[in-house]
């Protein structure tokens, strides 16, 4: 069971109670349900081998801002076996590194000892750092969604679906400039269907940051 969806809790509860799931090696905190489903779909479509057990958590229910920081803080505080925490967030209006730094700054403001961010090889959108705890260090990998070259007002996971649609020849390049948000082109429910039907190489190009975060967490 390499991937376990944590929400709704019933998804993981049975796995734990009936003894199949004894340990999570890593947890990816996702911005929302779309990210959770996208990650699952990419793993399935590309047949990515996951040699460890990764929990996929949807942070949408956490209302405190920045919500991913609260989730990281809670996990770092209580985890004993967890080696890696991944975070998949939208760039929104920031550039990739600033968005990742904002999470580190929030953690430091909560008095966590966090090393400086380092970019991960083969991606400008994935960064890694170490959170030092009294027990053992936890690796934090942050993948920032969005394609800042696009003229959308906000940069989100749907930007990548737009890129995939472009690569697949489903839309023209000038379509982007006609819309303020990627969601207007994609429609949330369409993402999974588009990935399902797409060419594997195009998926790798469009969702490189997701593939890189999975690599970082599993190697």
């Amino acid at each position: 069971m390499p991937i376990v969806q944590l929400r709704p809790p019933e998804e993981s509860f049975d796995e734990i109670i009936f003894g199949k799931l004894v340990k999570l090696d890593a947890i990816i905190l996702c911005e929302g349900k779309t990210e959770v489903e996208t990650v699952k779909q990419i793993i399935e479509k590309l047949s990515i081998e996951i040699p460890i057990t990764i929990g996929l958590a949807d942070c949408k229910g956490i209302t405190r801002v920045p919500r991913e920081t609260w989730a990281i803080a809670a996990l770092v505080k209580v985890a004993r076996k967890l080696k890696n925490i991944g975070v998949l967030v939208d760039a929104e209006n920031q550039n990739y590194i600033d968005r990742a730094k904002s999470i580190i700054d929030s953690l430091r403001a909560k008095e966590f000892k966090v090393e400086d961010l380092k970019p991960v090889k083969n991606s400008q959108q994935v960064f890694e750092t170490i959170i030092c705890t009294d027990r053992k260090p936890i690796t934090l990998t942050i993948a920032v969604s969005g394609i800042t070259q696009y003229s959308f007002k906000k940069h989100t996971i749907e930007n990548h679906t737009v890129k995939l649609m472009l690569l697949e020849g489903k839309i023209e390049k000038n379509t982007i400039s006609k819309h303020e948000a990627a969601e207007e082109i994609v429609g949330r429910e369409k993402t999974l269907e588009i990935i399902k039907q797409a060419n594997r190489e195009n998926i790798k190009k469009a969702y490189n940051h997701i593939i890189q975060i999975l690599k970082q967490l599993t190697t």
């Binding site: 709704p8 809790p9 340990k23 949807d58 996990l75 004993r80």
Partner: protein, 369 residues
């Protein structure tokens, strides 16, 4: 809120080789798998109170004997006492260290050579100068017996030597706090007669029964009008007066019965700790919320520090929510015992419980991370 017990450290007691829990709150919830050590932590705190009074006045038996008996141990201290030692290794003393506010510590021991089964304290360094004057060489003290002991209890002083005042002055409020610690478990709740005989007169004297009736009426949707004594078989038993009939407490549903007994046991207490084992038993979530609401409000009013063991996530949520509303600090401790008896403790504040639940991680199942 009067916060007295700050931390506990346990070595070699029952299934626990080592366990340290720090930064206790007003309300402390212990969660974890079966055998994690939740009940043993409650028992260790309860056993500590035997340093001051070896007898549980409510149960009318020695506290250490009760710990042995309540887990189906046969016999008392004399025949079954070894089970109190980790892996029955009686050569190593059981050690329980309690830390109180104002940095006062009480280091207690159970020593197998002591066939009387006293709980002994080591002598606080601050008292050494005072004690050296009359009690040179002694290293242990039993407050209950008011006597000193030499190393390894080779010899002990006479009893009732008049040293209690010295210790009472040193430990201050902690003495009364410890002495009155009350342990509510399913054994106690299965004996309504104990509450009837030992607790109910105190309740009636101050008409605190009205509070219980109000809580039962509102929380359990029962048309309760009052509590009374009802003559049955030559004895008088506690009974709930309804609008059309009167029902013995024994004959009520288990949830309502337990709520009455827990509430009655807590109400007369003040400035002490209450240890409650699995209060969710027989409770519908609505009933549990009512019982916990009552318990938290009384705890706040009467300065009671609560230690609750549970397997119920509803209880964790209810108590955390109530504490926020009422203004009590609550912490949840996840206990996990390794195969070599070391208990690892993870501390969760309300925000952690809320965050984990929203991520889909049940705090009771933290062993997977």
């Amino acid at each position: 809120m009067l916060l007295v017990l700050k931390s506990v450290s346990i070595k070699g007691f029952r299934g626990i080789k080592e366990c340290a829990i720090e930064d206790f709150s007003d309300v402390n919830i212990f969660i974890g798998r079966n055998g994690a050590g939740k009940s043993t932590v409650l028992e260790a705190i309860y056993a500590s109170s035997a340093w001051l009074n070896a007898v549980d006045e409510l149960r009318n038996r020695r506290k250490l004997d009760y710990i042995i008996e309540r887990r189906a141990g046969r016999g008392g201290w004399g025949s079954s006492r070894n089970i109190l030692w980790y892996l029955m290794d009686v050569e190593k003393d059981v050690e329980i260290k309690l830390s109180f506010a104002r940095k006062k510590e009480l280091r207690l021991k159970l020593i197998s050579k002591d066939f009387e089964g006293n709980v002994w304290s080591t002598l606080p360094a601050d008292l050494h100068y005072e004690l050296e004057k009359h009690w040179r060489g002694y290293v242990f003290y039993s407050y209950f017996k008011d006597k000193f002991g030499l190393p390894k209890l080779h010899s002990t002083s006479k009893e009732n030597i008049g040293a209690k005042e010295l210790f009472a002055k040193y430990y201050g409020d902690a003495i009364k706090f410890l002495e009155n610690i009350t342990f509510i478990d399913s054994w106690l709740l299965s004996k309504p007669d104990i509450v009837e005989r030992k607790v109910w007169p105190k309740i009636l004297a101050k008409r605190l029964d009205k509070l219980i009736v109000k809580s039962i009426r509102e929380g359990y949707r029962i048309d309760a009008e009052g509590l009374t004594y009802m003559p049955i078989g030559g004895v008088h038993v506690l009974a709930l007066q309804l609008s059309k009939t009167t029902v013995r407490v024994d004959d009520l549903g288990d949830g309502v019965k337990n709520a009455i007994l827990v509430s009655a046991t807590i109400l007369p207490l003040e400035k002490t700790a209450v240890l409650i084992e699995d209060p969710e038993i027989h409770q519908h979530p609505g009933g549990l919320a009512t019982l916990m609401d009552f318990t938290m409000r009384i705890a706040k009013k009467k300065h009671l520090q609560l230690f609750i063991s549970t397997h119920s996530i509803e209880l964790v949520r209810i108590v955390n929510k109530l504490c926020s509303e009422i203004g009590l600090e609550c912490k949840t401790f996840f206990l996990e015992r390794s195969s070599d008896g070391i208990v690892d403790v993870r501390t969760l504040e309300k925000v952690d419980v809320d965050t984990l639940l929203k991520l889909g991680l049940d705090p009771r199942l933290l062993h997977i991370i």
